[in-house]
């Protein structure tokens, strides 16, 4: 079983080919804790304590016990390893001048449709590439690629979220230029992805009017960490029973600092505010 996410096999990372050929252009397995990438970091495990493993909890204390067993004090965060890898991704992205956005929502809220339209409409204006996470298939990656963006598809198998090691592998395959945007489309899930830092600069959560207005209060861990909440499918508002006022006031309770933008990825209504948000955060291209 995979050591990071408990899935039955390793996640598969593939760079989708630019042409019609849908074979595996670059294919690798992630999760090897000692994985090598060509980031500008010392990969001996990123700390200088001389230990052979990446932890930041300091020393191991041993206390003698009356019983035969002895207690070893660890005081170690369970997600320390993912957090370290995420920080490494973050430093690499910053050094290169790349904006990374972690895009999350429940399945079917419109992540892929939003990215298709974004890639099409910003072509020639902003450089966008996508790390696409799904349990299986390259269907979403192929949709986005057809819209003009470079795509790395990550299939997590049984895994319910992307983690920082998968994203490191994806970034290496994508090799995004300075001054560009990498959108990480997480596995459709409002629970698990909230816990895993990927090294992103901002978290964007999509809510949609077909889901019901109570999503922020039902999934507070996800919405609490959002920098931007996109309320999608506004073109369907006349046909569904969606209390937009309640959604907005609940969201303010969960995440007072999050910005909210209402839009329709299908018709393009309101989408300019999303493009402006991206543009404001994108680093200037370097010479």
């Amino acid at each position: 079983m995979c050591a990071t996410c408990g899935c039955s096999g390793s996640a598969v990372v593939q760079l989708l080919p630019a042409g019609a050929d849908r074979g595996l252009a670059a294919h690798g397995h992630v999760h090897d804790p000692g994985h090598e990438d060509d980031h500008s970091h010392d990969h001996s495990h990123g700390h200088d304590s001389g230990h052979s493993h990446g932890h930041d909890a300091g020393h191991v204390h041993v206390q003698d016990q009356a019983a035969d067993d002895r207690t070893v004090v660890l005081q170690q965060k369970v997600l320390a390893k993912n957090d370290q890898l995420a920080q490494r991704n973050r430093e690499w992205l910053r050094a290169r001048g790349v904006l990374a956005v972690n895009l999350m929502s429940s399945p079917g809220a419109g992540k892929t449709t939003l990215l298709e339209r974004t890639a099409r409409e910003l072509a020639g204006k902003l450089s966008i590439s996508v790390i696409e996470g799904d349990q299986e298939t390259a269907l979403d990656g192929e949709r986005i690629q057809a819209a003009g963006a470079a795509v790395v598809q990550i299939n997590t198998g049984a895994g319910c979220h992307l983690d920082a090691a998968m994203v490191a592998e994806g970034l290496r395959a994508l090799d995004p230029p300075g001054g560009s945007i990498v959108v990480i489309e997480n596995v459709g899930n409002l629970v698990c992805p909230a816990l895993f830092d990927l090294g992103e600069e901002a978290r964007v959560v999509i809510s949609s009017v077909t889901e019901g207005a109570d999503k922020p209060v039902k999934y507070p861990n996800m919405f609490r960490q959002a920098d931007l909440v996109l309320l999608n499918k506004t073109d369907l508002l006349p046909y569904v029973d969606f209390d937009a006022q309640r959604h907005a006031s609940d969201l303010r309770k969960i995440s007072p600092g999050a910005m909210m933008v209402a839009l329709s990825a299908t018709t393009g209504e309101g989408i300019q505010a999303w493009y402006d948000w991206l543009r404001r955060r994108t680093p200037a291209p370097r010479e």
Binding site: V60, D68, D69, K77, L79
Partner: protein, 109 residues
């Protein structure tokens, strides 16, 4: 079900720190605001430790209560649930405790 990944992370962290040691007990601290369900970790633990140095180990979980401070009225309070609202009605709060997910110690045979 990210608790499966979390529990795998526990096994990996312990075996990384104490290679080859036979572990008889693992003590975890799970904060009420950590987003991790203690019951789900318990459910996964035997499955995930099977065949590892932690096989057969006892799992002890201490659940740490949440603690918040209101930025508007300044009072400290324990949130009633995952929605962090001060009794004064403000949602502008900072979390002081309860977000951690830690391996505090293990017992080695």
């Amino acid at each position: 079900m990210h608790e499966l990944a979390i529990t795998e992370g526990v096994v990996e962290a312990v075996t990384d720190r104490l290679p080859g040691a036979r572990i008889t007990c693992v003590r975890l601290e799970i904060g009420a605001l950590s987003g991790v369900a203690a019951d789900s970790v318990r459910f996964c633990f035997d499955l995930v430790t099977d065949g590892t140095d932690l096989q057969g180990a006892r799992l002890e979980i201490t659940e740490q209560a949440g603690r918040c401070k209101c930025r508007v009225c300044g009072s400290e309070f324990e949130p009633a649930g995952p929605i962090l609202l001060c009794p004064c009605g403000s949602a502008d709060i900072s979390v002081l405790a309860g977000q951690d997910l830690k391996i505090t110690s293990v017992l080695v045979a």
